[in-house]
């Protein structure tokens, strides 16, 4: 029997918990699908589904096997993907949705020049979702924000981008040359979704707290509408946009760290990684990661008096 194909059927039925729907997804009739699941159960010597009630349920054994089955199917898919890459097909990449359009354009353009055989298919995906997409083989390589980690994940060179603050142009702080995090007291903060960028979320908020800024409310989103409206401030690289003012942060306390990430290194993945480093440096103002600045706390007699 073709075990991998049977495992794929199993994962789809397990997701749908309905043989009819699963058959539609797989583009086949229901009776052969039921037959194949039975053959798989015979092969493995366990019952995977409980069909006694009107609803299909996973048995305990089915639940145990599902994760492994998915992993096997995904790995086989990646195997095929690797072969296709060798033939010069498509490189699927993930980039954070809030990466500037010019940067994405630069990635596509730069990669086309370096590897014209392979077409780049970018998708906007937050870091946490990229980690999942890489594991499932939905993308081949991603551009992720650090800190991030997952077993089996490999990273390219980490680049850093000092963050400034984006304010409504009418904000009193827009008139100063640079802004300290503590100056932002009383303002609400707009950040990328916590679910999508958990590492960066935690790191930025911790740094804000240490520097005297505890936002009353943290809004989540990728657009700058709330900043334009004067409802919130946001952190990011310099942006020139009417109605917005960008100011550097005194002491550069916030740094965005970005790198490429992949699980299987192919020539296309490595090539893209090199292009990404170059593009992010040239178009997004990112720099080689230097030594982290030593955090200094000034001594003032009143602090302990």
């Amino acid at each position: 029997m073709d075990l991998v194909r049977h495992l794929r059927y199993f994962t789809v039925v397990a997701e749908e918990l309905h043989f009819g729907n699963a058959a539609i997804r797989l583009g086949m009739a229901q009776p052969p699908l039921s037959q194949r699941i039975k053959r798989l159960e015979e092969e493995l010597g366990v019952r995977l589904f409980d069909r006694s009630s009107r609803q299909v349920r996973l048995t305990e054994a089915g639940r145990l096997l599902l994760g492994e089955a998915r992993e096997i199917v995904a790995r086989v898919d990646r195997l095929h993907e690797l072969v296709r890459h060798g033939e010069g097909a498509v490189l699927k990449i993930g980039v954070p949705p809030d990466l500037a359009a010019a940067v994405i354009a630069g990635l596509v353009e730069g990669f086309r020049a370096s590897d014209p055989e392979v077409r780049l298919a970018p998708a906007e995906i937050w870091t946490a979702d990229q980690v999942g997409a890489l594991a499932e083989g939905l993308i081949d390589v991603g551009v992720v924000r650090h800190p991030v980690s997952a077993p089996g994940l490999r990273f390219g060179q980490v680049l850093v981008q000092p963050q400034g603050v984006l304010l409504a142009s009418g904000d009193p702080l827009a008139g100063s040359g640079e802004v300290h995090l503590a100056d932002l007291a009383g303002r609400e903060l707009l950040m990328p979704p916590r679910e999508g960028e958990p590492g960066m979320h935690a790191e930025v908020l911790a740094e804000c707290r240490r520097h005297g800024y505890v936002p009353a409310q943290v809004h989540e989103g990728a657009g700058l509408g709330l900043v334009l409206a004067g409802v919130a401030v946001a952190f990011g690289p310099r942006v020139e946009q009417p109605g917005l003012a960008w100011r550097p942060l005194l002491g550069s306390p916030l740094v965005c760290r970005v790198s490429t990430a992949w699980r299987t290194a192919t020539a296309a993945v490595t090539g893209f990684s090199a292009v990404a480093v170059q593009t992010l440096k040239e178009r997004a103002g990112m720099m080689d990661e230097g030594a982290a600045p030593v955090r200094r706390v000034s001594r003032r007699p009143g602090m302990l008096a």
């Binding site: 100063s176 040359g177 640079e178 300290h180 503590a182 240490r210 520097h211 005297g212 005194l250 002491g251 550069s252 306390p253 600045p293 955090r295 200094r296 706390v297 000034s298 001594r299 003032r300 007699p301 009143g302 008096a305």
Partner: protein
Amino acid sequence: MGVPELEALFRAAGVRGRLFAADIDTGREVAYGADEPMPTASMFKVPLLVEFCRQADAGLLDPRIRVTVTAAERVSGPTGISSMLDDVTISLRDLAYLMIAVSDNTSADTLLARIGRDAINAMLDGFGLAGTRVVHSCRETNASMAEDAGHGWPFLDSEDLARLRVLDPARTNRSTPRELAGLLGLIWRDEAASAESCAWMRGVLNLQVWPHRLASGFPYDDVGVSGKTGTLPTLRSEAGVVEYPDGGRYAVAVSTRSFSSALNQPRADAVIGTAARMAVDHLRR
């Protein structure tokens, strides 16, 4: 930042202000009435500190030597030995610390008697700071106020204030915002005395206790503020150095005269910090 902005800032705080700020390493500067002579009040203790170090460097005095300041010698003042009741035996360098950290008048006069005004003024001439002069001790300053007003502290009436010689730069210890900031720049660049002495002076100036003037403009854990205040009726000033986390360091001197003679004017104190922040922010653009 323009002149009108500083002007509006000072006016809103109820004072007439003068300011000088310079990047200690590049020399870039912001000047606003920076060459106008002003009474230094307690800021005269900075040139005294510098000459104390130079004499120690030259072996003319031992900063560790202990002296006894008797209760009878005490000069009036609200802090330090001036406010204590009994004889104090203390090293010269600890007197210098008290003179800067809490602006102790008794410590200052004890050191001034040993260092000598001529020596201080000669040192200032050597650095080209001819607009800065030390002519009176704290005791003489206090006495002249009582003499001019015909009564003791406080001095709140405009007739009294108009008569005070200590408020006339021509007749008291004096300097300009530019020269005071310049002297601090010398200390921060290790040019005022030996490198070791300059490092010690920076440490002592960093221990000043007052948070309400220069430091109030930089309410950040990662920004260092050192300095020396100067206060007389209607006169509030501070000269100091602001150090940024990226290594940028700025010598700033701000002098204000308030329109009102009220003693408690938090806004007049705070505008020294606000104006300094505005100037430093300008230098960093």
